[in-house]
Amino acid sequence: MRSKKRSRVWLAALPLYLFTILFVAGPLIYMVVLSFMSKSDSWGIEAVFTLRNYERIGEPVYRECFVQSLKLAFTTTFLTGLIGYPFGYFMAKLSPSKKRLLLLLIMIPFWTSSLIRLYGWMIILQAKGVLYQTIRFLGFEIKPLKLLYSYPAVVVGMVYALLPFMMLAVYSSVDKMDWNLVEAARDLGASAAKAFWTVTFRLTLPGLLSGVILTFVPSMGLFFIADILGGNKIVLVGSLIQDQLTRGADWPFAAALSVVLMTITTLLLILYRRIANTGELEGIV
């Protein structure tokens, strides 16, 4: 009886296993193997084992790309946390109908492609764009703006793209919190700030931390924002990989870069789990 049931479960899970092996494990193995091969002299790849690709990543210029990516990812995550936490917190305290409205407003931008929304930012930030026109309209005489194609423009774009994840993660954990605990703290004489810090913040920390994961991991890889709003002047690992896959036609090097990027991200995730002492991601499970 029992074994029959088991085999049925196994059968049900089979497609998932197949999918994972075919589309996750397969390409990953392919990528790792590829990263040890050489670029052929004319076109394509030669099955000649080499460590040269990894050696090249050690060169200062390519190391700098990883530093740049990490810097941008940390900046983005920090800022989304700073803006997203209060937003999620106050959103959870609203009446149900207002909550629904806010959720809808957060969702609506996702109905358009993120690329199109980025072009929207371009139009706003352009030398003689919407922002410039608005300032002029308000009666200030200014020179055309030099905001687009700069680091701040990239950070704005990144924070804008990833903020919803942080807001919703924090929201769901604040929403689930038992407010009686805060009341108890206040009754026992804690100030509002102390009650927030010792009770609310601690209880909603898992939400904040899963928000951190949800923004940090994508921001390590989101290079098209830096390309579009940064005018290709900030070289992230993602854009470097893209360059190698297209123009550079150096797939093994691109594979080696990807392997290193994935390793770094995985290590950071493991480190994070150790520190946060949490296995599950609040808000998405």
Binding site: F110, L168, G231, N232, L240, T246
Partner: protein, 430 residues
């Protein structure tokens, strides 16, 4: 209780939606997975196409196509006349090109299909319609966005699936080396003599056995004379301190490294790593002047006032001047780099005779003039120059007598050095 979970579920949905969304934005350009999926879709298309035509039909097509060819030779004038007409009925092209593997596709046409594989928007409707009407061959237009994607797909198809490919010079060298192109039947190209010999006998096809040049690109400097304070005479002018944070550049590492080397009096194709490194150092000095590096629609940075000088591809120069005739073009004194787009027929092309017909049709002077005026690249058909309108001539007929060099494939070692110098330069622009 339900409400409490709503947030969590939404967040999950959102993650899925955005992650999906984000990749679909980027994958067009890059990821291998994306390439694979597109490969699959084109493979599906082509099988659908081949299913509709039985073997008999194919042989029939070839013979009828040949008949049409001889007919065309004898009645050249009438062919030229009929090409004029379709311009009015231009809209039809969308329908015919879109209908690719429509249910009643090839059967109705009878004379077969010509599968053209090239960038989007290469041909005006007048050319596509004109050819279809003249020969009764349906054109199936298939796109790629980079040369590398083209080679990838063509090698997956083992030189089949496509009848005519138009791509850039350097990649054609690889295509020929891989044995994916077939020799042209020059006898069937009656207009062969119309080709401008300047663009023939190049490194990618020294004996002109495989290719027909269909446009040359010469990137040039375009600037806004109202804003630029210094005199722009060549590449070195871009380094002028008065242009701080005002230069837009195309994103091709070999081209930009190449002009830096020209500015230093070196070849664009040097394989000497020491020279490449010193060019990299010189290029880094340009960093403070760089406003934006991007490869498509670079002219928009100039038109929107974001940049005051730009180094642009030929088609972008054409587009920029079309938009703002006050802009000035500088033909750099240090010499010009150029590239050629050429058409070739894949080794296993299903309908090579139709491809020959189409190439010959394009080499017809009046058709070529139409084609180049639409495309905005330098005209590679000498006989067509007199048919190009006066306004367009300055931009479509290449400056004569200038020192010109093509960018060629270099050794792996040199390529690594070029890549490294380019990445260093981009990082220094920040």
């Amino acid at each position: 209780m339900r409400r409490k979970f709503a947030g969590a579920a939404l967040a999950a949905a959102l993650t899925a939606a955005c992650l999906g969304g984000c990749t679909s934005d980027t994958d067009k350009k890059t990821t291998t997975e994306a390439q694979k999926t597109t490969e699959v879709s084109t493979a599906a298309e082509t099988t659908a196409v081949s299913e509709t035509t039985t073997e008999e039909a194919v042989t029939e097509e070839v013979t009828t196509a040949k008949e049409a060819a001889t007919e065309a030779v004898t009645t050249e004038e009438t062919a030229a006349e009929t090409t004029k007409e379709p311009e009015t009925a231009g809209q039809e092209a969308d329908e015919t090109t879109a209908s690719e593997s429509g249910s009643d596709g090839a059967a109705d046409i009878g004379n077969g299909e010509l599968v053209i594989f090239t960038w989007e928007g290469m041909f005006p409707d007048s050319i596509l319609d004109g050819f279809e009407e003249t020969y009764g061959i349906e054109i199936v237009y298939s796109n790629f966005d980079t040369d590398e994607t083209m080679l990838q797909k063509l090698s997956t198809a083992k030189g089949g699936d496509y009848d005519l490919v138009i791509a850039d010079d350097y990649i054609i060298e690889n295509v020929i080396a891989e044995g994916l192109a077939q020799k042209l039947d020059q006898k069937s190209l009656t207009n062969w003599e119309n080709i401008n010999p300047v663009y023939q006998g190049q490194f990618y096809d020294p004996d002109d056995e495989y290719t027909v040049p269909l446009g040359a690109g010469i990137p040039l400097i375009v600037y806004d004379p109202d804003v630029v304070e210094c005199e722009i005479t060549g590449y070195n002018s871009l380094w002028d301190p008065s242009l701080e944070d005002s230069v837009a550049l195309i994103g091709n590492y070999r081209v930009i490294m190449g002009i830096t080397q020209l500015a230093m009096g070196e070849s664009m194709n040097t394989e000497d790593v020491a020279v490449i490194e010193s060019a990299g150092e010189k290029l880094k000095e340009l960093a403070p002047n760089v406003r934006v590096i991007k490869d498509d629609n670079t002219q928009l940075a100039l038109l929107s006032g974001e940049a005051s000088a730009a180094f642009l591809y030929t088609s972008q120069v054409y587009a920029a001047l079309g938009e703002n005739p006050n802009l000035k073009v500088c033909v750099p004194e240090e010499g010009l780099g150029y590239g050629v787009m050429a058409g070739f027929i894949p080794s296993q092309a299903p309908n090579a005779s139709a491809a020959h017909l189409f190439l010959d049709y394009l080499l017809e002077p009046e058709n070529a003039a139409d084609f180049f005026e639409y495309l905005g690249y330098y005209c590679t058909v000498k006989a067509a120059e007199e048919f190009i309108s006066e306004d367009a001539k300055q931009l479509l007929v290449a400056p004569e007598g200038a020192a010109m060099e093509m960018i060629q494939n270099v050794s792996n070692e040199a390529n690594e050095a070029y890549n490294k110098a380019w990445t260093e330069f981009k990082a220094a622009c920040d």
